[in-house]
Symmetry: C2
Subunit: 223 residues, 2 copies
């Protein structure tokens, strides 16, 4: 029946959810009990209307005349974001970037536990980085399935990234967080989030250059 149909939540909404969650976490820390959509919008730079629309994709979490209970909404958002269960991660590539991510406490704090790093380099295999062991890449399929790892982070060079994604697709992995500078493809049922750092830098560069671009267009259009 029609009431069962869940409309697809747009990516724009999804990308705002972590910001709501973070803000509510901060309020919780300050022992704030309730918050209105207006107040949230004022501080986060969204309209109250948008926040209410976003939240109502997932349920009715507020109360007329009162607003939202901070703790309750925080927990609901955590559930929506999949933070109510612990995630097990491995990092593929124990270079500088892999090591940087391994030492990044924020992930653990949100329930993403890094079990191991993997590398091809014999000098690294067997070592440990901030208490996290570096294993041989050849053992990764066994390790993931044995330990019910659900997220793999790819921090290998571009050349090997797709190959790693292919290997991962043979396991029970559920998500791939890719830092290599290509958009890797994975098997069906595996969600991929590509972090394209160069794209981000080029976006910055564009915006720094924007006024010059506009001048150029204006000049062309006049001539």
């Amino acid at each position: 029946m029609a009431s069962d149909e869940i409309k697809k939540v747009s990516l724009a909404v999804i990308r705002r959810l972590p910001k709501y969650h973070k803000f509510l976490g901060e309020l919780l820390q300050k022992n704030v009990e309730r918050v209105s959509s207006h107040e949230m919008g004022r501080i986060l730079g969204f309209t109250a209307s948008q926040i209410r629309q976003d939240l109502n994709n997932f349920g009715e979490f507020g109360q007329q005349g009162y607003g939202y209970n901070v703790e309750q909404l925080y927990n609901e958002l955590a559930k929506i974001l999949g933070l109510n269960t612990e995630h097990k991660m491995v990092i593929v590539g124990a270079g500088k970037l892999g090591q940087a991510l391994a030492g990044y406490g924020d992930f653990e704090r949100h329930g993403f536990k890094i079990l191991a790093l993997f590398d091809v380099n014999p000098d690294l295999i067997g070592k440990s980085i901030r208490g996290i062991p570096v294993h041989d890449i050849n053992d990764i399929i066994y390790f993931i399935n044995e330990n019910e790892v659900d997220i793999a982070v790819i921090t290998v060079p571009r050349e090997n990234a797709q190959e790693v994604a292919d290997t991962l697709s043979k396991t029970m992995i559920k998500g791939i967080w890719n830092f290599a500078p290509i958009e890797v493809k994975a098997g069906p049922g595996v969600i991929v989030e590509n972090v394209l750092l160069l794209d981000s830098l080029l976006t910055l560069s564009y915006r720094m250059n924007e006024s010059r671009v506009k001048e150029r267009i204006a000049t062309q259009k006049n001539s």
Copy 2:
């Protein structure tokens, strides 16, 4: 007059430009001379219409019946993205992440030259990482102005990120690329691009969890 008015280019368009640029670079490598919007769209997963609309924000680069000249369009996009002049960068924070970014050849290849890293740690100051010297953070204002650095990368811990941004705002820096897990604010005229890694991970987590969320909503709506 009205023809002078340049309509604001939306962020959605801007974020697609690096993908066009990259694709054209690959075609150029393969000595492909011309490409149609249809062909580009087919491979990149956009509609031909969208690509033509996007490009026409910046000028008329194509030719009826022919399409686009790969080399010309590649160069035009480079100009639009601010890649026609070399950018000088410094990295603030010479920890693992700073070191990882310092060793990332893709940036240099696109004209982003990393001149130095900066840190507070006396063990790191004076050393060099892949040929790039690590300087004392106290010298950063002088260094940036003296060397006409236009982009600063922030890879310091959360606690110090805003402070660094404030210091940078006192210099002639034009852009800040921030990897600390807060949205830093900078002085007027300074463009900030925040790379919020946790947000990216939570987006992945949401999508991995999506089917479960929908079930939950459906159940609620039935009861």
